[in-house]
Symmetry: C2
Subunit: 233 residues, 2 copies
């Protein structure tokens, strides 16, 4: 078994940065592994919290559903990031559903072990605070955008964010590096897939983006920035 690559990765994740070699060994020893194919569900909204995961490879989507079935996408989770934060904050059920959107590889720990780790190695709890604080801040910004901005601008901001956190340089521009349908984008932005489709079509005509089935490439990111941040008068 090739443990060392994982051990390497550990030290670089947001959650375990700065932990002692001893702590890393303990984490290593107590970890479980999990592989998911694209479309598989890691955990479901309302389920009892049993584990915390860190993404090694792949990408997942955290979403929230209302009783009436309406769904929104909270965020996408990539390598090095935490999935299933409920175990981190001591919540007994998962607030959302996490689904793999690409084949993914994760490592996980039970809630009890997570608790132990944080008590033994406070740096982990402090790291967790930092990352949760960052997520909270992102949410504030999204909430503000959703409250005050028009759809076109929100789509712009959302695409720029996605490109920033998981863009891949290509010949044609920056490609969002995972399958993202118009519906997905709509559920991130708070609109309908129709409006997203229309907006992307208009942008494609102006050469700003280039899209296909579940694919978006930002050809002129600066033009998108202009749309997203331009002064309103």
């Amino acid at each position: 078994m090739d443990y060392s690559p994982d051990l390497d990765l550990f030290a670089r994740t947001e959650l375990f940065q700065g932990t002692s070699p001893e702590a890393l060994r303990f984490l290593q020893a107590s970890a479980g592994r999990r592989r998911l194919a694209a479309g598989d569900i890691l955990l479901q909204q309302g389920d009892r919290t049993t584990s915390l995961f860190v993404v090694i490879a792949g990408r997942l989507r955290a979403s929230q559903m209302a009783q009436d079935g309406q769904q929104i996408i909270i965020r996408y989770i990539g390598p090095g990031e935490v999935a299933g934060y409920a175990a981190l904050v001591g919540s007994d059920t998962h607030p959302g559903t996490v689904t793999a959107v690409d084949d993914s590889h994760l490592i996980g720990w039970t809630s009890a072990i997570v608790r132990q780790i944080m008590e033994r190695y406070p740096i982990v709890a402090i790291n967790a605070l930092t990352l949760l604080g960052r997520r909270y801040h992102e949410m504030q910004i999204r909430l503000r955008e959703l409250s005050t901005e028009r759809v076109e601008r929100r789509i712009g901001h959302t695409l720029l964010r996605l490109a920033h956190q998981s863009g891949r340089r290509t010949a044609r521009g920056i490609e969002i590096a995972f399958p993202l349908s118009r519906r997905d984008l709509a559920e991130m932005v708070g609109t309908t897939l129709h409006t997203v489709s229309r907006t992307l079509s208009a942008w494609e005509e102006r050469g700003i983006v280039s899209c296909g089935r579940c694919r978006v490439v930002l050809c002129k990111p600066h033009a998108l920035v202009a749309i997203a941040d331009e002064e309103e008068e």
Copy 2:
């Protein structure tokens, strides 16, 4: 100086629950006090993070502003709650502005001390995680409401939440226990003060609420629940 009442309060706040008497003494010794009149600003968005506060008495409003001046209200903060969470998560600037909406009394610690406390008493970091996790979850729910629900329903949910966290039983019903203008409510809900005004007027006609200048009383909370949660068909 009457230190003991504060010491009493400490142990009951969300952040310091379960801390040892020794820790409480240290907290006590290193704390600063701050009094604010209604309208005073505790800290401003973009300011360097210097301190963390816990509200002893009064109420404050955390808000976020965009470049264009558009503002939203993130949340109201009451006794026992944390204000200025940036110091908790190691962010170097404050993500929002916190303003007193009633005369308030707070205690605070510098960022350096907060860091020390968390390293020495991991329980505090774990408590911080729990409370931030709860706030994050609340944000997810608001984001979902804002994305998927109509204004009337959102106003309903918002009022119910406010009543829950700071409602005061009165003869006429549950009163939101701090000044809350139509504009404030609009900035929480993501709409205009006009729409809020119209909605409240309509509800007042049906006897569901009773409002005045910066005052809202929920006379028939169950009717509001029906509006907020009723199945759509």
